[in-house]
């Protein structure tokens, strides 16, 4: 490729960082795509092991990070978008930066926004595509879930014929994308101890995609995921190839998994809590195997990976520990609630709701979250962010005692107040939307408590 386009695009990134406009994680890609359409395909074409794309409503950043750890553990040189810029421009920027920093890279691995995936796949012609889950999320931006399912189906039709699909057998919508003509690796959770008592309110894809009948569940794991079947026998959860047969939840600290795979059993003890992370780890193992990473090192590599920024990240502040658990849609927020409840201590909570474009302008989703199980366990709750008062109403109508509820829209003041409320040595769980998480991390970075996200990874 002619050098001027690359040079100009990289200069834009340096300028962005120099101007304090963030890490320049998408601007260089935008410049490159403008100067030279098709640049992404040209940059990726030289990678001997091609590109892998990971997409989902929830868990794509963590799963990409775990998969990166597995590939790097096997000695692969990898290009990845670890800073989380996951639209076409972010992928282009990561490739641009990656081929400069790692001229002999073996492969690229990108987490991709679920709506951007068809276009990114068309440009990149990936060897492996990992599809993890689809939940209702930012209806004002993504539209209805059905539309994403259709867009993904169209994307799969246009993939190179030798591409491998990695699909979640437990999500009825994702599993429906199974195409017998394609190389496919299915993954799922097979530990009956994980079952929820019933489908949560926020369950989405709960009807048979052939006949419309309500699916029956042998067990529900997360949202509408689990062991599902059409009552009239049209469709059922396919038997996964990569199965987590034992998942032990180690409180809010982490997980211990035993995963059966076609390449043998893999044990992993990642420092990531909750059932949703059991899915992320299992997906990452399946992704790594599909990419051709040898099975023997995957468990250790995944177990050694640190949490991605804001996703189970732990930060020390004034003698307390903050645990940042990004919560941006009902299914994801339900899992953070479930995870926080694994802590037996009285809970100090900081919940943050912003309504910027990256969060979704429509904040009605908080009414679909099951916050109610927290009520009897909360020592102090601080709600913050631009829509802090909407959260306050959510808890008022849930029946919360208002004496334990503080409303402080200003993120930094709210964080300080929540920390001051908690005894020294205690944990403060922070459940922010995306831009609220970035805002709080910026404060933590300025105070030297956390690292800047574009240096993350």
């Amino acid at each position: 490729m002619p050098a001027p386009a690359l040079t100009l695009a990289r200069a834009a990134g340096r300028l962005s960082r120099g101007l304090g406009r963030g890490g320049g994680t998408s601007l260089p890609g935008k410049v490159l795509l403008r100067l030279r359409p098709g640049a992404v395909a040209e940059l990726a074409a030289d990678l001997p092991r091609g590109a892998t794309l990971i997409s989902a409503t929830n868990g794509k950043t963590t799963t990409a990070r775990l998969t990166t750890a597995a590939a790097k553990g096997a000695g692969w040189r990898l290009i990845a978008n670890t800073a989380g810029a996951n639209l076409l421009s972010g992928v282009a920027t990561a490739l641009l930066d990656g081929v400069a920093a790692e001229p002999n890279a073996d492969a690229a691995l990108f987490e991709v926004d679920e709506a951007a995936l068809p276009e990114v796949a068309r440009q990149l012609q990936p060897r492996v595509v990992v599809l993890m889950n689809l939940f209702r999320d930012q209806l004002d931006r993504y539209g209805e879930l059905e539309r994403l399912v259709q867009d993904w189906a169209g994307m799969i039709d246009d993939l190179p014929s030798d591409a491998t699909l990695v699909l979640n057998a437990d999500d009825p919508a994702v599993a429906s994308l199974h195409d017998a003509r394609r190389k496919t690796l299915l993954f799922g959770l097979d530990d009956p101890w994980l079952a929820l008592p019933a489908l949560p309110h926020a369950a989405d894809s709960t009807r048979c995609r052939r006949c419309g009948a309500r699916l029956v569940y042998e067990q529900v794991t997360v949202g509408h995921m689990g062991h599902w079947a059409c009552p009239d026998g049209h469709l059922a959860r396919p038997q996964p190839d990569v199965r987590a047969v034992r998942v032990r939840l180690e409180g809010t600290e982490g997980l211990a998994l035993r995963v059966v795979t076609p390449a043998g059993e893999i044990e992993a003890t990642p420092r990531l809590p909750g059932v949703h992370n059991a899915y992320n780890v299992t997906a990452a193992i399946a992704a790594a195997l599909a990419m051709g990473v040898p099975a023997d090192g995957i468990g250790d590599a995944v177990g050694g990976a640190a949490a991605a920024f804001g996703r189970g990240e732990r930060v020390a502040l004034d003698g307390r520990e903050l645990v940042l658990l990004l919560a941006k849609n009902p299914a994801g927020a339900n899992e953070t609630v479930r995870t926080v409840l694994l802590d037996p201590e009285p809970l100090h909570l900081l919940i943050a709701l912003n309504d910027r474009t990256a969060d979704g302008h429509d904040v009605s989703w908080i009414w679909d979250v099951d916050y109610e199980p927290l009520l009897g366990r909360i020592a102090q709750l601080t709600v913050t962010g631009e829509r802090a008062h909407d959260l306050a109403l959510r808890f008022r109508y849930a029946g919360m005692e208002l004496g334990r509820l503080r409303v402080e829209p200003h993120l930094e003041r709210a964080m300080d107040a929540a920390v001051a409320d908690a005894p020294v040595g205690a944990t403060v769980y922070v459940l922010p939307t995306y831009t609220a998480m970035l805002g709080m991390r910026q404060v933590l970075v300025e105070r030297g408590a956390a690292a800047a996200f574009w240096r993350d990874g």
Binding site: R136, L139, D140, G143, E144, L145, E146, H201, G212, D355, R356, H361, D362, V363, S364, W365, I366, W367, D368, E386, R387, H389, D390, A392, L393, R394, R396, Y397, A398, G399, V407, P409
Partner: protein
């Protein structure tokens, strides 16, 4: 103390914009005044007996679910709902439910979904979705109040002479992005595109509807004592400011 009986239409299919928040508000605001709310889920296939319910709620759904619901509404519920409304029951319908309360919905491909005919209005899908914060000045029971929320709809709704708009658009799109009207009212039937959900940040509207339902239950108009709505007012003010400040 009185227990208001609510018929919640299709809670599993029509719940896309956090409609359960509206039910939670109706329930709490009755409880805080020593009344109660009994909720009956009215599912596909269920029939309803006119006179039993004081209030009906119909929320919004995904296109696929909405088509299932439209057929069932006409087949099993339309006659019962019309008789209930004639008997003084109140109806609140939001977003997709609002469209279904009219004469019908014409999709982009020209296909037609039937409606209940509770409100004299008709909806035709437009080329774009109308999405964003929505602030209106609404009028009910002779009182005017600002009502705030979020809209997300492809349908353009036009009212016939049998219904009047719930309010006028102060900012946002409203019924059709053209005539400045939002929502529709006919007697005790209220429809609107406002969600967010609608009632938590608009307690005045919640109380108007509860007063109608209580009147249907008890046969006389009861005064609803005021509640401490400081948080509701604050959340309302924040939402009013969002379109310009974001």
């Amino acid at each position: 103390m009185s227990v208001v009986r609510l018929g919640h239409l299709y809670p599993d299919e029509m719940n896309i914009y956090a409609d359960r928040g509206n039910i939670a508000v109706l329930d709490a605001r009755l409880r805080w005044r020593d009344h109660g709310l009994a909720v009956d889920a009215l599912e596909p296939g269920d029939r309803l007996e006119p006179g039993q319910h004081d209030l009906f709620y119909l929320g919004g759904g995904q296109d696929r679910d909405q088509a299932i619901v439209a057929r069932d509404l006409v087949a099993t519920k339309a006659a019962g709902l019309r008789a209930s409304v004639e008997g003084g029951a109140a109806v609140l319908c939001v977003c997709g439910g609002y469209q279904l309360a009219g004469h019908g919905y014409t999709a982009v491909d020209g296909s037609r979904m039937p409606g209940l005919g509770l409100l004299d209005l008709d909806t035709v899908a437009g080329p774009t979705r109308l999405i964003g914060d929505l602030v209106i000045e609404a009028e009910l029971d002779g009182e005017r109040h600002r009502v705030v929320g979020f809209e997300n709809h492809a349908g353009r709704t036009r009212l016939g002479p049998g219904a009047r708009p719930l309010g006028t658009v102060l900012s946002g799109h409203g019924n059709n992005d053209h005539d400045g009207g939002e929502g529709a009212v006919a007697g005790r039937v209220v429809g609107t595109y406002l969600h967010g959900p609608l009632l938590p940040k608009n307690p005045w509207l919640a109380d108007v509807i509860l007063a109608w339902a209580l009147e249907h239950r008890t046969g006389s108009r009861l005064d609803l004592p005021p509640l401490d709505d400081e948080l509701e007012r604050a959340a309302h003010e924040v939402a009013v400011g969002r379109p310009t400040r974001r």
